[in-house]
Subunit: 384 residues, 2 copies
């Protein structure tokens, strides 16, 4: 049963074999010192990737669980909040507020556009009772990166809580929770951390802890206070094999260095953007980031057919669009266990597929454009 | 970094290498047909272990998450419920009701005792508005099995929902959701399913679906309806590697046959009970089951020292007590990847440790008693 799809989706990603083997080690008992020592070791390394000294809480869950944890722990029934909705994951913040009956004001952004920090300022002016802003670092559904540094300036000036879903962005989109003042950063294992899905994280600032102390929304599994009391053990049975995997994945990331990982992934994204232009494709996002490059499916072509041909003929799995963008965009991921040859090989394969389905462009132009970008930073390419 | 503790705790358990290797396969993309086919294959096999035709929902979470899902999906703010609290996990049902503001009546059972089905009948008589009963199949903290068949008769006569935490019991304690009429059975991956922790399950009867449709408690990650709409995909990123592991673990279980697994684990528990009697130890539970055997730490001995010596000298990890039972009981697990030689070897090692710390008993009497039990069912021992 050989499963060989090479994943170039914006998550889950290819898991390095070192990580997969760490995952398959003998299970540790989670109430013993050895597990606690493992989690402390993991935590020290994960804090370097989060770039925070804030407490990080661990949940056996996928990213959405940690998003729900933020809503349930940071808010009161009477709170008002601002939600940025510029894609599938902004929508998720909105739906979570709805599910928990939280009074929320939505900044609606056309999918593919970035929120302008001034929009946050205006929303907070219009709703002075709003006590928190929920947004994304990278909106995975559109490949768009938001300017969290500027947004944090605005929320900090007003003592408003800033909660950032960095599920796909962590580790590849520059993010400085402590320097910029982000109260909570949500992340998950199956993105640039290169671990299978099932582990989610939230970093919690001092201000966020104060809010958590007076929150009255119902919670149990997601309870921040219970997590804090059981720090380095977790209150409920943790996803032990995924924590073992994360330990090794963080070794790989820190051996390379986070700055290098960020620069290298940015290079892949730049090379891909240059390539898709040269292939006569149009970028979907107005502020594209390093997680994935979203492009319009050219008029008259069948998006599903492109995806399926790439998979069948080249064993490459890239993503399509979600919801109303199904069949309308392609999303080429740049995160996980990916090297320069994989990026270039995928662009070459995409050229062949587009050529086959009759898209008009100069065959070879895409890879050539990517190579010119790569040639300027050969050391980065070589590193991978 | 050799981690070789042999786990004889009531979970997490030893994971067979076949399962660990399945877990470490290449990650499948969770929105593709291949993942959905995997989950359908897993589901057909898991239904054989659950012995139900009801829908099974899958959550990336540990068991407590699935317990919370039952509370959040099956109840209304105005509902009254009955909770059986005879240990740490009955307490969890109570705490979940408290967290969600659900009006609940607790049947308090001394830890180590089993609830008498008549107590359920009396509670339902006393609280005729109660619409659901929450209990355990096997109360892991005390090693006690409840008579769910009789309890189900009582709840069915009154059209009351029965929700059973079978997290440690599934697969080794006989349980017939469809025959007996259990509305929801909660389970998790890291017990007799022999998979690392991080996957939780709930089976949902037709009556439970009706309740779920009119439930008004806040939920999102745990939402049964969303899970139903995304059956065989799951609404949020699933714990893919654990699902791959479960696929192989279920192969192993069904190759042996569930009846045989139940009988074999019961044999291990019987042999252990005979051994501990012969070793001049006292059982803690009045209705001990096959998940784990709980025994009192003899007066004057140090429970922690016994656990640590077993681990240090013999690389065997058994559990102590939880909460007020810390240091007072030992819990010897019988589930997971365990054979007769492991059970007998552990009893022998325990004899040596007890002998060393000065406990009074005839050295060899424990294993001899266990052997006499095993000799009556040699075929079962041989099978493992």
């Amino acid at each position: 049963m050989a499963r060989r799809d090479f994943l170039l989706t914006p998550g889950p990603v290819n898991v390095p074999r070192r990580v997969a083997l760490a995952e398959s080690q003998e299970i540790l008992y989670h109430r013993g010192e050895e597990f606690s020592e493992l989690l402390q070791r993991v935590d020290a390394k994960l804090k370097q990737v989060f770039r925070t000294q804030n407490t990080i809480l661990y949940f056996a869950a996928s990213g959405t669980g940690a998003m729900e944890a933020c809503i349930a722990n940071l808010l009161n029934t009477k709170d008002e909040v601002i939600v940025v909705e510029g894609g599938k994951f902004g929508q998720r913040w909105r739906e979570l507020c709805q599910a928990f009956g939280v009074h929320h004001h939505v900044i609606q952004i056309e999918w593919g556009r970035a929120v302008h920090p001034e929009q946050i300022a205006h929303a907070l002016d219009a709703h002075p009772k709003a006590s928190a802003v929920f947004t994304q670092l990278s909106e995975t559904s559109t490949g768009t990166v938001y300017d969290i540094e500027k947004i944090a300036q605005i929320t900090n000036e007003r003592d408003v809580l800033l909660v950032v879903d960095a599920i796909s962005g962590l580790g590849v989109v520059p993010c400085e929770p402590d320097k910029w003042g982000i109260d909570c950063v949500v992340a998950a294992s199956q993105k640039s951390l290169m671990v299978p899905p099932g582990l989610a994280f939230v970093s919690v600032s001092a201000r966020a802890w104060q809010r958590a102390e007076r929150s009255d929304l119902p919670k149990y599994y997601w309870d921040f206070q219970m997590s804090k009391k059981n720090l380095y053990f977790t209150p409920f049975t943790p996803a032990i094999s995924l924590v073992m995997a994360l330990d090794e994945a963080l070794n790989i990331i820190l051996e390379e260095g986070l700055d290098n990982l960020i620069a290298r992934t940015e290079l892949y994204a730049q090379a891909t953007r240059a390539a898709v232009h040269a292939m006569n494709l149009k970028l979907f996002s107005e502020r594209p980031g390093p997680v994935c490059t979203a492009v319009h499916v050219p008029q008259g072509l069948n998006g599903k057919e492109i995806l399926e041909t790439l998979r069948r003929d080249f064993q490459i799995k890239i993503s399509g669009g979600q919801d109303h963008l199904k069949g309308k965009i392609l999303r080429i991921g740049h995160i996980g266990d990916v090297g320069a040859k994989d990026v270039l090989g995928t662009l070459a394969a995409l050229e062949l597929v587009l050529h086959k389905v009759g898209h008009k462009f100069e065959l070879g132009a895409g890879v050539r454009a990517a190579l010119h970008i790569c040639a300027k930073k050969e050391a980065l390419c070589a590193h991978s």
